[in-house]
């Protein structure tokens, strides 16, 4: 970790585990101990940042597709240079430049800066990011995966393109309001292994909940824009760019309960549904630029996890 950034904050892990002010003391103590154990484990397991491992994390996120303006500028859009409009119920937000350009992108960021952005939704200057950037999910990413991902992003070409302010009405354009939003809706994730489940299931759980951030589109939101976790992955009418994000729980009639594990793997690899139809919208992009490049093992892990979650009846076609 960059020593300069470390001085500014104790460390991403420790801060996250120990200083959530609204948790009561016993919980904080437990988290603090867990954090110390986590740091100890990470210290043993951690390796140097690795570009190739980072590429795999990048694919698991869906190729960071929101950061390329494919809809507006086509396949030749400046890769990962942002500027893509994301239409949410709260206004239009524009994705940011995540190339290593020093002026307009992430050039000059330390690992600690990157980890803080991904896990806490804070810029290096301490500004809150709008939650259209799914740090709510990415907070569950392991430290090693984050530094690997940064190493991969750093290996890609720098593109100069300035970020754009949102076209959103007050108070949704107001970053200070995000303090309240985070208080309501943001609990950093800590994805622990479930010893009663297979390694494959645990891998799938981690991929779906953290890197692949499936819930950000496929789980409906509350009035305040937080995820309605009682409806985990049961579909949302207000997915990204105003698209409907289908129910992907194993509910037979309204979800994807009729899909087998090979159906799911094939879908994420090829973008083709069991009936032979192709995929529309942002999902087709995150498959093409991301998930389709994952290993067969990771795809099977995602499928295994998705088949295991509670089936929820939610018929979006009827709404």
């Amino acid at each position: 970790m960059n020593p300069v950034a470390s001085r500014r904050r104790p460390s991403g892990d420790e801060a996250e585990a120990g200083t959530r002010s609204r948790q009561c003391l016993p919980i904080r103590a437990v988290f603090r101990i867990a954090g110390i154990l986590w740091l100890a484990a990470a210290g043993v397991a951690s390796a140097n940042p690795d570009v190739e491992r980072g590429r795999r994390v990048f694919y698991a996120t869906g190729g960071c597709s929101c950061h390329t303006n494919y809809p507006g500028e086509g396949d030749d859009a400046p890769w990962l240079a942002g500027g893509r409009p994301l239409e949410t119920p709260f206004g239009v937000f524009y994705s940011t430049n995540i190339t290593r350009d020093p002026e307009t992108g992430l050039g000059g960021w330390s690992d600690a800066d990157f980890i803080r952005a991904m896990r806490e939704g804070l810029s290096p200057e301490g500004r809150h990011y709008f939650p259209v950037f799914p740090y709510t999910s990415f907070s569950g990413l392991r430290r090693q995966d984050l530094v690997d991902l940064k190493a991969y992003l750093d290996s890609l070409p720098a593109i100069e393109r300035a970020n754009r302010d949102p076209d959103a009405p007050f108070p949704f354009s107001w970053r200070a309001a995000l303090v309240g939003w985070k208080w309501l809706n943001f609990d950093p994730q800590r994805i622990e292994a479930d010893k009663d489940r297979s390694d494959e299931w645990n891998r799938g759980n981690y991929l779906v909940r953290a890197a692949a951030h499936c819930g950000e589109c496929h789980t409906p939101r509350t009035l305040t824009g937080g995820l309605d976790r009682s409806m985990w992955l049961a579909g949302s009418l207000e997915g990204p760019e105003g698209e409907r994000a289908p129910n992907i729980t194993p509910h037979r009639e309204t979800g994807i309960g009729s899909w087998s594990i090979p159906d799911l793997v094939w879908y994420l690899e090829m973008g083709l549904k069991p009936d032979g139809d192709d995929t529309q919208g942002l999902m087709s992009e995150v498959i093409e630029h991301g998930y389709s490049n994952l290993s067969a093992g990771d795809l099977a892990a995602i499928a295994t996890y998705l088949k295991s979650i509670p089936a929820i009846e939610n018929d979006l076609r009827a709404k």
């Binding site: 208080w183 509350t222 009035l223 094939w266 090829m270 083709l272 032979g276 139809d277 529309q280 093409e288």
Partner: protein, 182 residues
């Protein structure tokens, strides 16, 4: 209420407070649905053409993803898709975008692009047919992926997205379940 109690208050209370504030701001949305007109025979036919293509695609998927021991079948399906591709443009020649259809008016405005996208699709189907006859699994997978992308290259500009599909809207009559996939 001091700061600590407020901060430790339950999620329910936090969300109740926020919900009240939001309702006060009057955040709401309305959805309107268009009424459907009757189906025309041209629309029903072209939907069947697209449906046959989609069924071939799904059948190839069944074989490949489940490793069914059906040598030669993928090549037959791919060849059939290439043949069916030649029927698409004539089937869509008549401009009907107002019936129970997901065809966008853009098809007839950008007819040349529509035809070009169909040609690309036919070429990709022929490539898959050749790869399947060759028998190299990696080449078949790559050709399959390329073919799937060609489906999307035409569907994205020219077919209404699923959330706007006529199939989601209330029907005046029930004789057709709208399996056509145009």
């Amino acid at each position: 209420m001091n700061r600590t109690t407020l901060l430790t208050s339950s999620s329910l209370i936090r969300h109740t407070i926020a919900s009240i504030l939001i309702v006060c701001f009057g955040l709401s949305s309305a959805v309107s649905a268009d009424d459907l007109e009757n189906d025309s025979p041209e629309v029903k036919y072209r939907q069947k053409v697209m449906s046959i293509i989609g069924t071939n695609m799904g059948a190839m998927g069944d074989i490949m993803k489940n490793h069914l021991a059906l040598p030669g079948h993928v090549a037959v399906h791919a060849g059939q898709m290439a043949s069916m591709a030649q029927l698409i443009a004539p089937a869509f020649k008549k401009n009907i975008a107002s019936d129970a259809t997901d065809a966008k008016p853009k098809i007839w405005r950008d007819w040349t692009k529509f035809e070009a996208a169909i040609s690309d699709f036919e070429e990709a189907a022929r490539n898959l047919e050749a790869a399947a006859r060759g028998g190299d699994a990696a080449a078949v997978g790559a050709a399959m992926k390329a073919l799937g992308k060609r489906c999307g290259n035409c569907h994205k500009p020219f077919r209404r997205p699923k959330e706007e599909s006529f199939k989601n809207k209330p029907r005046n009559h029930d004789h057709d379940h709208g399996d056509g996939d145009e």
